[in-house]
């Protein structure tokens, strides 16, 4: 039934070319992510300028220790992700799987900490819409959270494929591109953390 040129019968590509294309494509996609968050950052700065006091007050409800912990957790996860790419490039499959699972573990830790931050706020009746500061807080961290979840999905996929022995020094593009995405998720948090948690302290 399926003929050449259809979804399951696309023509063969040169793997090196495909890898280069894939990596280039991901960089382009990261640019769109930066602009996506850029819109939110713009809204942040406009409202911060208008309602400075509100932002200082809102920020004082956040626990900077939890924020710092999550910053640390994400930074370490970026490190394990980088180690995973390195392992793939050296064809060290066990090390690759181990590092991918570690990255997943740290990502899950991030989610748990986030839960400990969000749930008490809901219990105190603080939601998006409570005031502009908390709208910004929930939207930025929520959109970031969504990206963590998407990242976890793809890292999980990489782990499953690594378990099947798909990656080696000849073929590591998937891991590397997944790593690029994960580092972006990390770096967005690096910007969010001071903007949301440390507003009043400067």
């Amino acid at each position: 039934m399926s003929a050449p040129g259809t979804f399951f019968h696309a023509h063969e590509e040169d793997p090196v070319e495909a890898y280069q294309n894939f990596k280039f494509g991901m960089w382009m996609f990261l640019a769109t992510e930066v602009l996506l968050f850029g819109g939110l950052f713009a809204a942040y700065f406009i409202f911060k300028y208008r309602y400075h006091e509100l932002f200082v007050k809102g920020s004082s409800h956040l626990d900077w220790r939890m924020g710092s912990l999550n910053t640390l957790v994400l930074l370490i996860s970026s490190y394990t992700m980088a180690m995973a790419v390195d392992a793939a490039q050296r064809s060290e499959n066990q090390k690759l799987i181990r590092n991918l699972l570690l990255t997943l573990l740290f990502a899950a830790t991030f989610l748990v900490v986030k839960g400990f931050e969000w749930i008490p706020k809901f219990n105190h009746g603080i939601y998006p819409g409570t005031d502009i500061y908390f709208s910004i807080y929930f939207l930025t961290t929520g959109l970031h959270l969504l990206h963590v979840l998407i990242g976890m999905f793809f890292i999980g996929l990489l782990a499953v494929r690594a378990n099947k022995g798909r990656y080696n020094s000849e073929n590591f593009g998937g891991v590397e591109v997944g790593g690029l995405y994960w580092h972006l998720v990390d770096i967005i948090w690096i910007f969010l953390f001071p903007l949301l948690y440390l507003v009043g302290s400067v």
Binding site: M1, S2, A3, P4, G5, T6, F7, F8, A10, H11, E17, Q20, N21, F24, G25, M28, F29, A31, T32, E33, L35, L36, F37, G38, G39, L40, A42, A43, I46, F47, R50, Y51, Y127, P128, G129, D131, I132, S135, L139, L143
Partner: protein, 536 residues
């Protein structure tokens, strides 16, 4: 149909699966073409209804709310479902790999995914527009301005979601084309031999990648505003509707260059072929596309001159908007210089290309009073604006699309249309279009505001004339598409290169084989080495 696979051309595949699951850029381009032309006709029909309401003062066929629904229908379908995917998704998809000597785009499956995502977005948008009882049809206008879009009881969330999804499709297409142009050019196809259509698509793709996510987040915020009342766009909650306008136009102004740049690329391909002259100022045209893409990001503020904006912001945005005229004029002057002393053949693609230059120049020049602070106060939100952007969108993009469709028709379908009929159609369109929108410049100048279903007696004559023009305009499209469809069935077989173009897409058979090129071509010269008697 019993050829071996290698000789099979892309149109020979039959059946739903072979098309709907096809990763071939030519089939995907053709499916996009069918989809967007369908929506063009639907949105065009709603424009006819709008103009019918405006035939006479007072209630003609609908009441005030009905009129809001009609122009929302027209604007939303034209913008989101027709003109944004527009030339890149159709001609761009079909031609880009052929022009650069590639077998396909960089990510064929992603390309198909873009099309599916487009269809998903279509479903959401249509649901918001016409999927509910008549009283719930969207009435916000396509711009979805806050605070009304926060308050309206109509389907704001479904259309916002739909446009968000369509944005994904647009981003992925732009990303795909960018990587394709960077990485898949055939040996010898250097940047400075790249056909100008590809330069134009490239520039438009960069805007698609960088501007679309901003409207994405804006629309998400609008959804959140309606669900949670986050307050960003609601003054009572400390927000600001003008923030919505800023964020909306940060995308929606650059997006007009997504629409127009590819049309400019089409014209740059057609002019040298039908003048038998090398394109004049190749590099100036190529880089002016990039320049337009760059400047497009810094002019959004001119939509807000009367919405509430500081004196200095207005001043700077006005100046930056004037700056767009420079790369645009560079293009126009180079196109005209290409015509100068050429051996001009006025076949229908060339007629459309020349009409593009004429109409787009009017569009550009009437943009200047809108970018000028003092005159904009008077002209803002008047019919002058309506006429101005229809000269860019219809006189520019649609005419450019038709130029491209007539030019590459023999390559795409392997058939020829009736040349005399296409010329008749062209003149109907040219007259109908100008008759529709030229009076609107005057209406706006005399003070007729846009988006009103009723008007004073003093505007009656010009409105009547505009509506009659719109009917002619609509008939012209039926005639033009009728001719093109007739050609599919009854047209004579097209030669490989009926217009004697030197570009790569004409070196393959018409219609092209499934894998485009038997072997990867090597390019040794640019594609514009035409010689006429004068410069031979």
């Amino acid at each position: 149909m019993s050829h071996a696979h290698a000789d099979e051309h892309y149109l020979q595949a039959k059946g739903f699966y072979n098309w709907f699951f096809s990763v071939d850029h030519k089939r995907i381009g053709l499916m996009y073409l069918l989809a967007i032309l369908f929506f063009f006709l639907v949105a065009g029909f709603s424009a006819i209804l709008v103009r019918t309401e405006l035939l006479f003062p007072g209630h003609t066929i609908v009441d005030a709310r009905g009129y809001n629904v009609l122009f929302t229908l027209h604007g939303a379908i034209m913008v989101f479902l027709f003109i944004v995917p527009g030339i890149p998704a159709t001609l761009g998809n079909f031609l880009l790999p052929l022009m650069i000597g590639a077998k396909d785009v960089a990510f064929p499956r992603l390309n198909l995914l873009s099309f599916w995502i487009y269809l998903l977005g279509v479903v959401c948008v249509l649901y918001a527009l016409v999927g509910t009882p008549w009283k719930d049809w969207l009435d916000t206008g396509w711009t979805l301005y806050a605070p009304y879009s926060v308050q309206s009881s109509t389907g704001v969330i479904p259309i916002t979601l739909g446009v968000f999804i369509l944005g994904f499709s647009s981003i992925l297409t732009g990303l795909n084309f960018t990587v394709t142009i960077h990485r898949l050019r055939a040996p010898g196809m250097t940047w400075h031999r790249l056909p100008l259509f590809c330069w134009a698509i490239y520039s438009a793709s960069l805007i698609q990648i960088l501007a679309t996510p901003v409207v994405g987040i804006t629309l998400l915020l609008l959804i959140m505003e309606r669900i949670f009342g986050i307050g960003f766009f609601t003054p009572a909650l400390g927000g600001d509707p003008i923030l919505f306008e800023n964020m909306f136009w940060f995308y929606s102004h650059p997006v007009v260059y997504i629409m127009i740049l590819p049309a400019m690329g089409v014209v740059a391909e057609i002019l040298p072929v039908f003048s038998k002259k090398p394109i004049f100022g190749y590099r100036a045209i190529a880089y002016s596309s990039l320049a337009i893409a760059l400047v497009s990001f810094f002019v959004w503020g001119h939509h807000l001159f009367v919405s509430g904006m500081s004196y200095w912001s207005r001043w700077v945005f006005s100046l930056l908007t004037f700056a767009v005229a420079i790369p645009t004029a560079i293009k126009v002057f180079n196109w005209i210089s290409t015509l100068y002393k050429g051996s001009i053949r006025l076949d229908s693609p060339m007629l459309y290309a020349c009409a593009f230059i004429f109409l787009f120049t009017i569009a550009g020049l009437t943009g200047i009073p809108l970018a000028t602070l003092a005159t904009d106060v008077h002209l803002h939100d008047s019919y002058f604006v309506v006429a101005h952007f229809h000269y860019t969108m219809q006189g520019g993009t649609v005419i450019g699309l038709l130029a491209g469709l007539h030019f590459w028709y023999p390559k795409i379908f392997g058939k020829m249309y009736n040349e005399l009929a296409s010329k008749v159609g062209f003149w109907m369109l040219f007259i109908g279009f100008n008759m529709t929108f030229m009076p609107q410049f005057l209406l706006g100048y005399f003070g007729m505001p846009r988006r009103y279903y009723d008007y004073l007696q003093e505007y009656a004559d010009l409105h009547f004339m505009s509506s009659i023009g719109a009917y002619l305009n609509g008939l012209a499209y039926l005639f033009i598409f009728g001719n093109l469809i007739y050609g599919l069935f009854k047209g004579k077989a097209a030669a490989k290169n009926p217009y004697e173009s030197l570009s790569l897409e004409w070196t393959v058979p018409s219609p092209p084989p499934l894998t485009n090129f038997d072997e990867v071509p090597t390019v040794e010269d640019w594609t514009y080495g035409y010689a006429s008697e004068q410069n031979a």
